[in-house]
Symmetry: C2
Subunit: 211 residues, 2 copies
């Protein structure tokens, strides 16, 4: 299986690396970070650099496509090189997936029309304008399309994918190896659970922790 | 605040990037990836490359030190450049922290003597040979030392650190922004919860998903 993880300037690192840590360990899997050009790609914070080892053109037929999100997603929404590649890769992929606002790129490529999908909670209602059916679920499967909510949710999506791709025992073993037994010290990980005034500040755009 | 995240060949990516995604967003924080030499550093799987932007010598006094683990930790256990830097950085740090087998590097540097600490469940009892007191907890604080268990646990540690460093409201806002409301599709994230035969295979070294 070939797994292609898309990179673009100002992506969110955990969107890509969370699922990477699970999916790249699947049996007989080659993982490639792909971008418009090879070389270093800076994240949203500007202090983390991942390398794209292959161009889109060099990876025409990945079995699994994973698109992260991040503030850099916005300028990609009308990048024909990325969108054309997504459409072409999707034509032969077994799974087409996204984390966070990566689903907006799948949607902009026309891949989520009439499909249930999710995104970062702050971006969820943008999905509808591309003909997708937004849901507030953390991980959404619709056919071969899997979308995850914000940032950390890609880990949950990846484990669910691992089970579907390689069976439950492999998924359990990857969860154990990565010791994914989450114990958050707070309980504010969704807009339903966080203090209402914090949620309101994010929605109003008056609170932006760094990004 | 200056946050220094250590890189070395064959580190585990999520050990570093999980906490990065939380801690780098703290107010007034500069985050630097540091290594013996600047440039690309390959992870344990070999398919992911992060860039070290600064050498150890260029970052002598970080406020927060974070050491990831991974199979590449073993050859670092007698690397005087890394261990000397850890000791010197620790002398002036506000927080000295690790994820996964990164705690073995802190221990090898002599920083965890008589301190409660944790590590990846498969490495936990090695901690004792360096005079630390291993505990099976997911996140352990002992004075200014914070250690996290395997791989994904660094996210929980980072949120707890965020609360201590910048207050609960900032921590809640970072949890909400990263939508850290985990919903693992399986419940095998610790040796107490995973099937006993899987745990036994890992302990016997007969099961190694890729790494």
């Amino acid at each position: 299986m070939q797994l292609a993880i898309v990179l673009f300037d100002r992506f969110t690192a955990l969107d890509a690396v969370g699922p990477y840590e699970i999916l790249s360990r699947l049996p007989d899997t080659e993982t490639v970070f792909v971008a418009e050009q090879t070389g270093p790609v800076r994240n949203d914070g500007g202090s983390l650099t991942l390398t794209a080892d292959r161009t889109f053109a060099e990876v025409p037929h990945p079995d699994l496509v994973l698109v992260p999100g991040g503030p850099g997603q916005t300028p990609q929404m009308d990048n024909p090189v990325l969108l054309d590649w997504l459409r072409a890769a999707d034509a032969t992929s077994t799974w087409t997936t996204s984390v966070c606002t990566g689903s907006l790129l799948l949607a902009a490529a026309g891949l989520l029309k009439g499909r249930r999908a999710t995104s970062h909670w702050l971006a969820l209602n943008h999905l509808g304008s591309f003909g997708a059916e937004p849901t507030g679920e953390r991980v959404v499967f619709d056919g071969k399309y899997a979308t995850a909510a914000g940032v950390s949710s890609g880990i949950d999506m990846a484990l669910a994918l691992a089970g579907r791709i390689a069976g439950e025992r492999t998924a359990l073993s990857l969860q154990l190896l990565t010791e994914y037994d989450p114990q958050p010290p707070y309980d504010a990980g969704s807009p339903d659970k966080a203090p209402a005034d914090l949620v309101a500040e994010f929605r109003a755009g008056t609170r932006h922790p760094q990004n």
